[in-house]
């Protein structure tokens, strides 16, 4: 699997209810050292309920400027949340009979929605 398989995918709950699109992946660098950096690990998916366009990084912080771009984007992406990777039940293959068409990500029942902001 590569990042492009997940980006822009539609996100479904276990019962098939659509909750949004994957707008970004959150990686952490805590693996064994590979060259000069630690190997990245997929921590979770950033899911936006209304749009699959980019949030331009505003999901990470509480920056409110420049006006009016920041407030408009925040409104458009309101309800954006983070799901941890272990809460993803499965990512069906493109030729999966239950999920024909564009890529989807199916979440586990009882998955948790986390705040997408990065806290220092």
């Amino acid at each position: 699997m590569i990042a492009s398989d997940l980006l822009d995918a539609r996100v479904l709950e276990a019962d098939g209810q659509a909750v949004g699109w994957v707008v970004d992946l959150r990686l952490v660098l805590d693996g064994t050292t590979d060259g000069i950096l630690a190997r990245p690990r997929l921590h979770g998916l950033v899911v936006s309920p209304r749009t699959r366009t980019s949030f331009l990084g505003f999901e990470r912080s509480d920056v409110r400027s420049p006006w009016p771009i920041a407030p408009l984007l925040r409104r458009w992406h309101r309800g954006t949340f983070l799901v941890h990777w272990p809460d993803v039940a499965r990512v069906p293959e493109p030729d999966d009979a239950d999920h024909p068409g564009p890529a989807v990500v199916v979440l586990r029942p009882g998955y948790l929605r986390y705040d997408a902001t990065l806290h220092r």
């Binding site: 492009s4 980006l7 331009l56 920056v63 400027s65 771009i69």
Partner: protein, 408 residues
């Protein structure tokens, strides 16, 4: 001298925007058809590119990241890929025009047909990209490009009625032109002032020169000297054409006509100075656009890039530039008019510019990247006004181009 060399990056960047082969001719066309009535657009473009380049230079100095790295990170692969395709189209089309422009300028100097100069010009550009250090490259082309100050000198030597010239500065559509054509040229001039490749080059150049937060003053000086100077020379070319070519009813369609007002004002000596300036400016713009091709592609795809690395350590970056030059020579081999090529780049510029500008504006506000160097309120107010202008120009560009048949 040291101060002058410190702003070479800004001067070279501005040459690529305001005084490249296509713009040299466009400025003369505008002067001969519209007098000084479009000079205000150049003023608006100068302020716009100052705002844009200032933000991108600041982001590069403080975060160490060049513009296309920011674009890819903030827009994601899809929207950034669209931007990359449009930006590469503008940049390579301009490179085609520059290689052709060097050849035309050498024809002016030598009377040898420009088609014979094309391979020579392309090879010379490649050798500089391959061998010459970034600082030497920018200093030589930036300083020699200053010979175009000859156009400003020519305006004084022509001894115009300054009151009448100033009266022409008011924005108005001349009686013999229609409003659609006026606004088409307004957008073409604005688009030429604010091209995506200028910002790719300027921000990557800052990284090449190893700027850090301590160099913010250098960045600001480069912006505040380079672009206004480029704009001033651009207006001088239009003024020369307005003073000599417009009254004589001469329609500009070739680079050689640029020298007519200069010859009348200052004779052979000034023409020689101007030709040196044109060769340096087109050569500098060719370097700028070729490098921008390599910078934007490498930064999007995460390849190692930069002239500060040896070519073997940035092989794909150098290969991209070689391919761009091969494309330029191949296009010119079809005997296409190099100047006409740039007319169509405004379309791609319209797509690329908003998608290039927005991520830089957003990152310039992000304290995670910028620390305490985030944009202030006044800067954000001006930058947001320009975002609106850029979007309006982008939306209007294509319909106007079709309606006026590219200003015909």
């Amino acid at each position: 001298m040291k101060r002058l060399l410190a702003v070479a990056l800004g001067i070279l960047t501005a040459i690529g925007g305001f005084l490249d082969a296509g713009d040299l001719v466009t400025n003369a066309v505008v002067g001969s058809r519209f007098g000084m009535s479009l000079a205000w657009v150049v003023g608006a473009g100068v302020i716009g590119i100052c705002v844009f380049a200032h933000m991108s230079g600041k982001v590069a100095a403080v975060s160490g990241r060049a513009t296309f790295e920011i674009i890819r990170e903030r827009l994601g692969p899809r929207a950034a890929g669209l931007n990359l395709a449009a930006s590469l189209a503008v940049t390579v089309l301009t490179l085609v025009a520059e290689v052709g422009g060097i050849a035309l300028a050498l024809q002016l100097a030598s009377s040898v047909d420009h088609r014979l100069w094309v391979p020579v010009a392309a090879l010379a550009v490649w050798l500089v990209l391959w061998r010459v250090k970034f600082e030497i490259m920018e200093n030589v082309t930036g300083l020699l490009g200053l010979a175009l100050v000859g156009f400003a000198v020519a305006v004084f030597l022509l001894g115009p009625d300054w009151g009448e010239l100033a009266a022409q500065l008011a924005p108005q559509v001349p009686v013999e032109e229609d409003a659609g054509t006026y606004w088409y040229y307004a957008i073409a001039l604005f688009g030429a002032a604010m091209t995506p490749y200028e910002v790719f080059f300027f921000s990557s150049g800052g990284v090449e020169e190893g700027w850090t937060a301590k160099d913010l003053a250098t960045s600001r000086l480069n912006v505040l000297v380079g672009f206004p100077l480029g704009g001033l020379l651009s207006v001088s070319i239009a003024a020369c054409a307005a003073l000599v070519l417009m009254p004589a009813g001469i329609q500009v369609d070739a680079m050689s006509q640029l020298t007519l007002p200069v010859a009348q004002a200052g004779g052979t000596l000034l023409v020689a100075v101007i030709i040196v300036g044109i060769v340096a400016a087109t050569f500098g713009a060719a370097l700028e656009t070729a490098l921008s091709t390599g910078y934007s592609l490498s930064q999007y795809l995460g390849w190692s890039w930069g002239k500060f690395r040896r070519p073997a350590q940035a092989a794909r970056f150098h290969l991209a530039m070689i391919l761009a030059l091969v494309v330029a020579v191949a296009v010119l081999a079809t005997n296409v008019d190099p100047i006409a090529v740039t007319e169509y780049s405004v379309v791609f510029s319209a797509v690329a510019l908003p998608l290039t500008y927005l991520p830089i504006l957003v990152v310039a506000n992000d304290p995670e990247y910028m620390g305490d160097q985030v944009n202030g309120r006044a800067m954000n107010a001006v930058a947001t006004v320009y975002l609106v202008i850029i979007v309006v120009a982008a939306v209007a560009a294509i319909p106007l181009m079709i309606a006026t048949e590219a200003g015909g």
